[in-house]
Symmetry: C2
Subunit: 594 residues, 2 copies
């Protein structure tokens, strides 16, 4: 590619509406342009990078016997009614009517279409196992698209679906896929990506893992142990919390006047004791299954993890309003379960169980009680882990301090079990001739998000530092033209450019009549891993100057060897990435089932 032909303006200034580095650089480098909120067009540099990512993913999917297929984006409503998701999903699922008034959706994932496709083709145990995958457009009507390609509405996802006749087979394949995922991220240049056991959420099923790239740009919070291999999404992470108040005998309850102390901070000041000395109380609305308000008590210095609470009450918790709190006889700012147990569904965080003589609300304005002891003062609460893990809490595996990180989810894998095959009535004849329901796994990687995530952690002030595997061009030939004409520069450059092309090395040649500074700036914005600089002085010395984008390392190579030098350089860089891929280990066996 000649630089003069490349469509797309590049510029130095940070666009005002970009918060994430990847978004900024994708705009500044002429990679993407917005069409609507969360909807983008890709210019050639982006398209080439995306196709390189896709190629790696395809190779790894084929290596684990994946069969590439293609399923449609526009799907009839009936398909989504079969699985129950037509009504279970709300605004995220875009809906439309065709010219005859029939209802359709824009697929946001393809479980329904996959089962509909597979159930007519795989009807005997002999047809199993198999995995089909695609690179397909999806549409999710996201409430809050963000960060350029990090969270968008329209996107291309590699989604894979495996089908099995038994759990062991699913677990084995799931782990093969986990290794393939590790290899994909390593080959794409982010071997530091970690697999974290996660909550399956909307997707249903039991065991699942998220692949997290740790970066401040992430939306998720990841808990890792500073010492052992424990790691979890904060949504489900556990920790050991030291008991702070366990060295006392239980004292009698005592009501105390505490005027104007509606927060834990106020109370800590009022009593001049640490926040861990208090039991705080949070009220949630009744659920489909629980007719009373949900009352949660937890230690004053710990927050409720609503995802954990959701598992206890089998519904996503929603905070109750003041009127509902008053209605059960509690007073906002002075509440506890004490004395109103029967009117609520009481959940007590397990960290409160061993704490002695806590201070909590008296359910009376401007009064608290002292010496509250869960075991003694509550009759039959549900004890559960609903605590949000904090930086420094102890690891449940080794007791070392835990660390909190931000992370971007760059992939996920799920053991779906029979969630879709059962509701959509997929059946096969087993070896005994009986009908049985197969089980499924599903495995997703957003191609655009993966590209943007790599960029998020591989860049400097000048632009992207693309790993050679996914870089839009591997080599940039920069012809530095003197002011008084071209000399031999164009001729020498052209020869090198054409030889590199013949060797199959994707090269961009900056042959424009611009000053060197502009050319260096553009080469940096395109993130080309290896720069070859052709200048008059270098030609006179029979040399070409090379520079590594990532390290800044420079050197000279003789003009006659430059093509094989570049060829070897690219090969070696690819080998490094492949070597990292070969280091990927399967998931620990204990993480494969619940």
């Amino acid at each position: 590619m000649k630089m003069s032909q490349l469509l797309g303006k590049r510029f130095k200034e940070k666009p005002s509406d970009t918060k994430l580095k990847s978004h900024e650089l994708l705009i500044r480098g002429g990679y993407i342009r917005p069409v609507s909120n969360g909807i983008f067009s890709s210019l050639l540099p982006s398209l080439k990078t995306l196709k390189n990512v896709e190629k790696i993913v395809r190779e790894e999917m084929n290596a684990i016997s994946g069969q590439e297929v293609e399923m449609p984006l526009v799907q009839p409503k009936e398909l989504w009614e079969e699985s129950g998701r037509y009504f279970a999903i709300n605004d995220e699922l875009a809906r439309l009517k065709d010219r005859t008034g029939r209802d359709f959706v824009l697929a946001m994932t393809h479980e329904e279409a996959t089962v509909a496709l597979a159930r007519t083709e795989a009807t005997s145990y002999k047809d199993f196992p198999f995995m089909i995958y695609q690179f397909a457009k999806k549409f999710r009507d996201e409430a809050r698209p963000r960060g350029g390609l990090i969270r968008v509405k329209e996107f291309t996802m590699k989604d894979a679906y495996s089908f099995h006749t038994n759990k062991q087979d699913l677990e084995d394949y799931y782990n093969q896929c986990a290794v393939a995922y590790g290899r994909i991220f390593a080959r794409a240049g982010i071997p530091e990506t970690v697999a974290i056991k996660s909550d399956s959420g909307m997707m249903g099923g039991s065991v699942s893992h998220e692949y997290m790239l740790l970066t401040e740009a992430g939306e998720d919070t990841i808990v890792t142990c500073s010492k052992c291999d424990y790691r979890a999404n904060k949504e489900i992470a556990e920790s050991v919390v030291s008991v702070e108040n366990d060295d006392e005998a239980e004292k009698p309850i005592e009501k105390v006047s505490t005027p104007n102390t509606e927060s834990i901070e106020d109370l800590a000041k009022f009593f001049n004791v640490p926040e861990s000395k208090f039991a705080k109380t949070i009220f949630y609305k009744p659920t489909d299954k629980i007719s009373k308000p949900v009352l949660v008590m937890i230690r004053g210095d710990i927050e409720v993890n609503e995802n954990k609470l959701a598992k206890v009450i089998q519904s996503m918790p929603e905070l109750a309003d003041d009127a509902a709190i008053n209605a059960v006889g509690a007073v906002v700012g002075y509440a506890s379960a004490y004395g109103i147990e029967n009117k609520c569904y009481v959940v007590v965080d397990k960290t409160l169980v061993k704490e002695k003589n806590l201070i909590t609300g008296a359910n009376e304005k401007d009064y608290h009680i002292k010496n509250f002891n869960v075991g003694r003062d509550l009759s039959n609460p549900i004890i559960a882990d609903v605590a949000a893990v904090r930086e420094g809490d102890k690891c449940i595996k080794c007791g070392s301090p835990l660390e909190l990180h931000r992370g971007i989810e760059v992939g996920n894998i799920f053991q779906l079990g029979d969630k879709y095959t059962k509701s959509m009535e997929m059946r096969y004849t087993d070896e005994s001739g009986s009908l049985a329901t197969p089980i499924m796994g599903c495995y997703g990687i957003g191609i655009g998000r993966l590209m943007a995530s790599v960029l998020e952690v591989r860049n400097d002030d000048k632009g992207p530092i693309w790993p050679v595997s996914i870089a839009p061009w591997k080599v940039a030939v920069l012809s530095l033209l003197p002011k008084d004409g071209e000399g031999e520069i164009m001729e020498v450059s052209k020869k090198i450019y054409e030889e590199l092309a013949r060797k199959g090395i994707d090269t961009i040649w900056d042959e424009r009549k611009l000053n060197p500074g502009e050319k260096f700036a553009d080469a940096d914005l395109l993130g080309t891993p290896l720069h070859l600089v052709i200048s008059q002085r270098n030609i006179e010395n029979g040399q070409v100057e090379w520079k590594e984008r990532a390290t800044g390392n420079k050197g000279f190579v003789s003009a006659k060897d430059v093509v094989s030098f570049a060829e070897n350089w690219v090969k070696e860089e690819l080998q490094k990435l492949n070597a990292a891929a070969d280091m990927v280990k399967p998931l620990p066996l204990e993480e494969l089932s619940n």
Copy 2:
């Protein structure tokens, strides 16, 4: 690929709902499955064929300096309001609202998105010319999807858009693109595809060509000369029609009683003269610009081509109803322009001009007039070519008889001019520093339709006969297992299969425990160009039997040479296709402009 792993049932029976051969074979061979009317999923054999087609198209687009991009399917209404198409297109354009109530469309083509992308990036004459293209999902809410992948609602199209600063540059590039298109069809195995100058229709602009594959399965009618290179879509085809009644002097008008003769057939019987002796009359509704009914007179043996008429009246003609005909003083079955000229917008087909003494309606029930002569009896009619070409009419270029064929449109190219750049206000600074509007060309190929079209003309009763360039697998290794065990067959087959894979030849190995008949049937349904048959007897003779799918030619090759034999065979077949591509000629210069 091992056949035992391939997902997708194959079967012998013709599905009842398939009319076209390509549709039948795509279903029977396990290539595609319907999801909804005009919406399909592709299994691996289809996906691989589609990707092979895509690869050819990509190579040819890159060879003419195309830059691959990607634009979204879901687009904001505002973009389509800019071009005016939001309101100009009706039911075909699918519309939806997002969660906030904003209006979006599913793009059916990408002119709007292309101009929106290009207008911020190409702002100086130095940025021109350029071409961007994509393989993008489109959605058209077709009223009548048909023929499997021939006419669908959701499809992947290669759409390319070129931008130029002057007409000559556009015409030159248009012709480069025409050659690339010829090469694509030749490489995909249908070199017989013809470029036909066509009506631009909805796309606007002036010059355009359709690429037509002549087959009975087509929806279009193509007119070709039996001798010279004249060819045109019937929608705009012209011909020389012999004057049948020109050897007489004009006689006086004579009114004759012709009871119960409302059709030309009736009249021809009544008078016992050929249909060419009559002038028939058709009424159309008034248009936006023409306030009177449109009255068309044409010779009795010729039909009106409404596309030609549309150009005359600048609107698609719609037939008038009887009431409207009566309102201008005409009588259905007995009408003509005679005596009611002032009440209608009269269009006379040019074939009537030289005909003498015709019979036509008297505008009175059960009466016609004889000796009607256009030049004498009408005062100021519009004379135009609105005649539908008939088989056997004479070529306007060489006078030889014309032939009519059915054809499928497998691609099209348009000189759009400034249709979109003007309405969407794309501007660039020209060499003199003034603002100017660039002009565009656009170039489309439906990938799925191209695959199905090739299949439509390359098949036999047993299945597809894929050209080697796009075949999902190039070679099939068929292991014919004896009933009493495997012998050496599996071992020998595996070795050949693996060596072929190492050579990069996409091979499918049928290693299933099935009888030979089933294996041959499946290999035929997959359309694999070269079959290698491994049987016990062949092994004993140190031989492998080969068979060409297309020709049925068979032979034996020694087991040790079979891999290089297959490799060479594939190479030679590809060379034949490439040789056909190298024969492609540019369009005649006179077809490049109007």
